[in-house]
Amino acid sequence: MTINTLSQDGVQRQQMPCLTKMERMIISMQDPDMGIKLRNQRLLITVIPHAMTGLDIVEWLIKKCSISDEEALHVGQLFVKYGYIYPLKEPRNLILKADDSSYRFQTPYYWMSTRWPASELDYAIYLAKKNIRKQGELIEYEKECYNALHKRINHTWDFVVMQAREQLRASKQRRKGDRIVLECQEQAYWLVNRPPVSPEHYKLTTLTKNTIAMLTPWCSLKYIGVSNLNGSYVKYCEQYQPHDPIMQGCLPSNPWITDDIMFWNMNSETYMFIVALPTKLRVERWSFSFMELLNDQMGRKEFLTYLEKEFSAENLCFWQACEDVRHGETAKIPEKVDEVYKQFLAPGASRWVNIDSKTMEKTLEGLKRPHRFVLDDAQMHIYFLMKKDSYPRYLKSELYKNLLARAIVPQETKKSVFPFMRRQRHSSPSPALATQTAEDDGKAKYSNSNSGTASRL
């Protein structure tokens, strides 16, 4: 939903698609066979036709949509709030009660989609009618509106009063039952569309601004479609389920439920908490994908240790330096690229990385005019080299297997001895403080994670 009411072609946009849906449901509610059973209701001495009880509405919704009564009441409430159903006994109280209180369907003439926004002129006529019919029938806020309108559209006031009189005369000629029904409908409409100003009601803002549209030739690229890739979703969900606290809980416990932050302390990423031993789940997760290993600071450190043993640590360092170029300050790019060249790419460099000649040639050519993505090809080459070669070997290595064996499985938090005492919720040092101190130590300002979405950590 947006504040712009005009679409790109200057056509009025459909403001609330939910209204169409609601109306469809209202129509099916009134279906003679499958809809709600309507009967006559007695209101004081008059008989109102085609009415139903609140309970009827809720029961119909439960059956039609297969939902619980709480939800059915909630949905039914929306119909009353938007004026599609109105209560007979307490018209000002626009709520749905799941008992024998009477309700009626609003006539389509007064539906929100057909008569929105409500016209000031119509409202003035309505109030004038009420005033003429019985002095003192206007309640407080209606009196205020009446006076305000009288001032604002004074030039049409004669017309307003004339219309009011005409409509009253026409209504007197109707049968009493019809008259009461029409009055109820009209009253319900105005209660929805001109309610007393209260903090509960939110008003739809209508700002008209023109949107600037740009038409670009639409690109189409042919894809190699993968059929039955839906199996991959199942696999992914199953693999990650033990790691999903909402699905399977977490050990020792979910901090939000038990107020015990042990879970966070044990899995901490910040350098302030030097974690001795990681949890088993954490170490297992490194085996899911290369990205998982690199995203975890501890995993990355372990991997670096392994690479050092294999004398290929420069690969990871190169990759990290490239990340720094890609995501760092624009102003520092030339000097960073230069550093990378000196350390990793120059012939005879101290930490020379092994990339194929074509990529090397292209990269060196690009270095003449360094920009953010100049190292991308080389970085990708090294990344896939590590992924296809070093990473699988790391997972089979003694280093990894030892860590996995030593990794801990936390005990579930014991229930508090005094169950009626709530644990103290301790505050934690702000990450701003942590990195400020890091800055003082000359470390990089941004976190070393690769992932773009926070939910991956």
Binding site: T216, S220, S227, L229, S427, S428, A454
Partner: protein, 413 residues
Amino acid sequence: MCDQTFLAITFGPCDNCSQNKPLMNIYLKNEPINYCSLCVELMACQGLAKGETTNTLKAESESLKAKLEEERAKLHDVELHQVAEKIDALGQFVMKTRRTLKGHGNKVLCMDWCRDKRRIVSSSQDGKVIVWDAYTTNKEHAVTMPCTWVMACAYAPSGCAVACGGLDNKCSVYPLSLDKNENLAAKKKSVAMHTNYLSSCSFTNSDMQILTSSGDGTCALWDVESGQLLQSFHGHSADVLSLDLAPSETGNTFVSGGCDKKANVWDMRSGQNVQSFETHESDINNVKYYPSGDAFATGSDDATCRLYDLRADREVAIYSKDSIIFGASSVDFSLSGRLLFAGYNDYTINVWDVLKGTRVAILFGHENRVSTVRVSPDGTAFCSGSWDNTLRVSAYLRSSGESELRNILYNTV
């Protein structure tokens, strides 16, 4: 994983100006050509080439779309919920609100989690942006923006800054100072400038770059230090309401959704629109990637949420129900991607089983529209912000007899 299976030359000499630049692959009269983004813009702005009119261009674009639909239909993919028939159904989930954050004086419009898994930043209609430690419910920082309707806010990956914007058409970055006496507004840095309201913003992998989407129909990538525009993304024909960065290895793409009912996937380097999906019947309010990066979910005003797969290039699931009439304003996945949390304009939050397509829970509690729903970075809880001025952090309570008691006790928030 998100292997990029399509072939595209993304960097090289431009066919027009011969300079080595990031390229856009476009079709001119059915011929594929590679232009740099500058040449494409010049061509688009200069109007139409000889023999072309807006009608012929539109007709060409329509026929391309139709051709692609044909290709997609040929693949005959099995529906996601059919493949998921074999796995166990989930029981009913009982979610309980664990924290209620009160302090905003008006509608909460947006929120974001910090990577430390407990802090959040939230913004509201009255211009206030507040940083909370949601765990203790303490407010740590507060900024008053010079405009109302702050529709976008984001936490920096380092936790040292927040970005926000709204009706001021700008995105500003505030470094979070720990000095209580310091006025945060003094250190404000204006980064992004659009020609219409800012609908969404997100930091990329570092504090140095911000991606924004706007009511002017464009998305843009900015350098924070200099405020320089690094790349702009044109292709939506109406307001862009939301964006999300892909959690892929190469970290180069993002998805955006807008009022033109389209969800577009973009390449950040070239500015090119690489994929487009148009099956919703109304505005797309929110887009979020599936944790693996192979798919994304959208929430829309047509009261449905849909899942689109990037490799098969089509919609693979719809999450809808007869009783859900109002639009979905915000969506997010649980850590494993099995659950989809969606906040709706009828004040409820529905939780969907992503694989089976069924709803597993409905949460009441908010007294007005739910405007934003985000799962915490480690998946332990989710936070929902609403037009009732509050934020609620909820978690799944594994119900058994004894934990019900614990629930009553811990519920004194």
